[in-house]
């Protein structure tokens, strides 16, 4: 029993429980870093890397087979492509709605367009920057998770042979 579990790359119940507890926390922290990308240090890539490390935590604790059943590489790829797509579409919107490619067309608009003053940090500021950060975050979470998942899968196949 124990040996079988080890062979599948699983770790002990303690590690699994802690990983299961930490996974949502890591995702929330990742989301926090992404959402506050325009206000504090961090942003899409950093937050996305934290989110992907949450997935890595699951892979380490539960084994790649188990994780792959729950979240497939294809899903991550779609998520990643969506992120890239949102980024480019927002950038092109800048061209059509405002002056140039990547222009901040939401700035000074009612909802997101507030420009924060000294010491203020409202979340709904920065125009298109939060949207771009979210797009980058999606792309990084999807891309890095897919990379780690695939690397884990193919190195596991190699060991089985």
């Amino acid at each position: 029993m124990k040996n079988e579990e080890m062979n599948e790359g699983k770790m002990t119940v303690i590690v699994q429980t802690i990983a299961a507890l930490l996974f949502p926390l890591a995702l929330i922290f990742s989301f926090y870093v992404i959402m506050h990308g325009h206000l504090t240090p961090g942003g899409g890539f950093q937050g996305g890397a934290i989110g992907a490390s949450a997935v890595v935590l699951l892979i380490v604790a539960y084994g790649v087979k188990h994780v792959e059943e729950k979240m497939s590489e294809g899903g991550f790829s779609v998520f990643e492509s969506l992120g890239g797509l949102i980024f480019v579409v927002v950038a092109i919107f800048g061209l059509f709605l405002a002056t140039s490619f990547l222009a901040n067309f939401l700035v000074n608009e009612p909802i997101f367009g507030k420009i924060p003053g000294w010491g203020e940090s409202p979340l709904n500021s920065g125009g298109i920057l939060p949207i771009l950060n979210i797009a980058v975050g999606m792309k990084v979470i999807g891309g890095l998770s897919a990379v780690v998942l695939i690397l884990a899968l193919i190195s596991r196949e190699g060991e089985e042979k």
């Binding site: 206000l39 990379v147 196949e157």
Partner: protein, 122 residues
């Protein structure tokens, strides 16, 4: 002298990285060498951006004890940091690619020795 220390570290990192890439035969070590080389270059960019007494250019999160009037002189231009971040992102992608190639080579050839896998000679 103390201010030159980061630059000396940069030189050392680049030298170690180049040494690993040129003289090591193990593919994983070559990947590590590229990463060290990249860290050297990144450290160089970051060192260029360092200003003594500078403040991070975040308008919404001022450090205590600094009034907004002083800010324009104290805030550093974040371009080198932005360059470094971009370079780190690219480095991650390159490293992932090199590692996946390495895994595929190990599966096909059964070795990581760069000297033994040279099927494409001449």
């Amino acid at each position: 002298m103390i201010y030159n220390l980061p630059f000396l570290t940069v030189v050392a990192l680049i030298a170690i990285g180049m040494y690993a890439i040129i003289f090591k035969r193990n593919l994983i070590k070559i990947a590590v060498g590229i990463t060290i080389l990249e860290s050297g270059v990144n450290l160089f960019l970051i060192t260029l951006g360092y200003r003594e007494g500078g403040v991070a250019p975040i308008f919404t999160n001022l450090p205590p004890g600094i009034s907004p009037d002083q800010i324009p002189e104290k805030m550093v231009l974040p371009v080198p940091q932005a360059l470094t971040l971009t370079s780190i992102v690219i480095g991650v992608a390159v490293l992932a690619l090199i590692l996946s190639f390495t895994i595929n080579i190990y599966r096909k050839y059964g070795t990581l020795d760069a000297g033994k896998i040279r099927r494409l000679k001449e």
